[in-house]
Subunit: 229 residues, 2 copies
Amino acid sequence: MEKSHIKVCCINCQCMSTAFKKLLPKQLRSIDNKRSELKYRKGEMICKDGSFVSSLIFIKKGLVKVYLDKGREQVIIGLKKSGDFIGLSSIYEDRLLYSAEALEDTDACITDLRTFNTILNENAAFSTEIIKLINKDLAKIYDRMYSFSNIQIRGRFAELLLALMENIYESNPFELKLSRKVMAELVSTSNESISRLTKEFKSKNIIKVKGRVFEISDIEELRRLSFEE
Amino acid sequence: MEKSHIKVCCINCQCMSTAFKKLLPKQLRSIDNKRSELKYRKGEMICKDGSFVSSLIFIKKGLVKVYLDKGREQVIIGLKKSGDFIGLSSIYEDRLLYSAEALEDTDACITDLRTFNTILNENAAFSTEIIKLINKDLAKIYDRMYSFSNIQIRGRFAELLLALMENIYESNPFELKLSRKVMAELVSTSNESISRLTKEFKSKNIIKVKGRVFEISDIEELRRLSFEE
DNA sequence: CGCGAGCTTGACGTTGTTCAACTAGAGTGG
DNA sequence: CCACTCTAGTTGAACAACGTCAAGCTCGCG
């Protein structure tokens, strides 16, 4: 699994996190000094649940699945994409809470956690942004919790399709790069159920599917379904 | 719903959060100045999902259920007790993410959020502790997520009994002050299932139940069950 | 004594999983 | 270019786990 190292200085980084924009040039430089850039291939593991943490991962490009991995079936916590951090929940812990795996080819920045924490301690505006990001993760997981507990699979699948369109691919006919298995994990069900629901939604003219290209024809119906039950 | 106001100065508070111990006397005083102490009766609502946030709640004594409340059935996020904060996930948001209700008579400190945030900005050590607390919430909800997705109800019920013994009541024969309904919500099931499982566990000599007093006789078996499936 | 809320129990239905068989398509090697 | 294999996806049937409904019970309280 070769990982190429092509560094661009943080100062000129196109995809800088809003949090990093709060840093002084000096601070940004010290982050830059203790940083490496890695490329992950689709399917490659980025970090492993329970392993020791010494760095924080920032995604420049790509799509990553973040999941709990405790021996049994994986439970997906969420997807992360360009602009997101992986590992914020463990910045003061010694162990990582989850695993991450690239669902598409992914470019990431690995920053030294010690340096990161030092700067967190020096720069309150930065710290505020980091807290906001962590809280965003909390809000997302609460939403997920809610829909796992209260919404049946038909609704969760509808929700997933909307999220793929609106948040992940950000276009309407979109090319699905996830396997049925990953879709199933995302809504905590079996691949078979995903198949059946896809078929059902096609037959009801809610979606059109050609190969890996999905088109959502009836957004309103999907939205209705995603709230129901 | 009368709430009595009996203030003790923060400096002398017995149940001060570890985070507050990082404050300078001056900072603690300004928290103290903008603070009120309230008592909630069992069953009383403490705050409401979606309402505007202007304060942060700290629990001095009691037991509180924190839950998502979006019209449909409630989804419990977790229980909070002495030493816990409610509302940390919304310190930079305008709306609260969840509701809270007292499960037992509860004493709480309500601190002004503006003051809290000002101090958060001034005191990095404090900010670190707050991030740790938020991350603890994240870790808990991930655990919950995992068990909701991977563990069946028998296992989740076993887990609940262990948690009640170890974390909530911290004693072995313990007097259960939660209704079946709340227990059911805690593991996302129906009251009927709780009844049936209680009966089953009694008949298998895993627990003894006398009225509201539960005694766990076979901890190992419970632990085994809580991992299984 | 009687009322009512919370709890229990049984019968039944629904949802969604599991298993197994089958299909389609992509990649490989002759 | 064609067989061959392998994986991902689809489909159907059987089944298990739970929820729902309805009826009955219990116990505290007026």
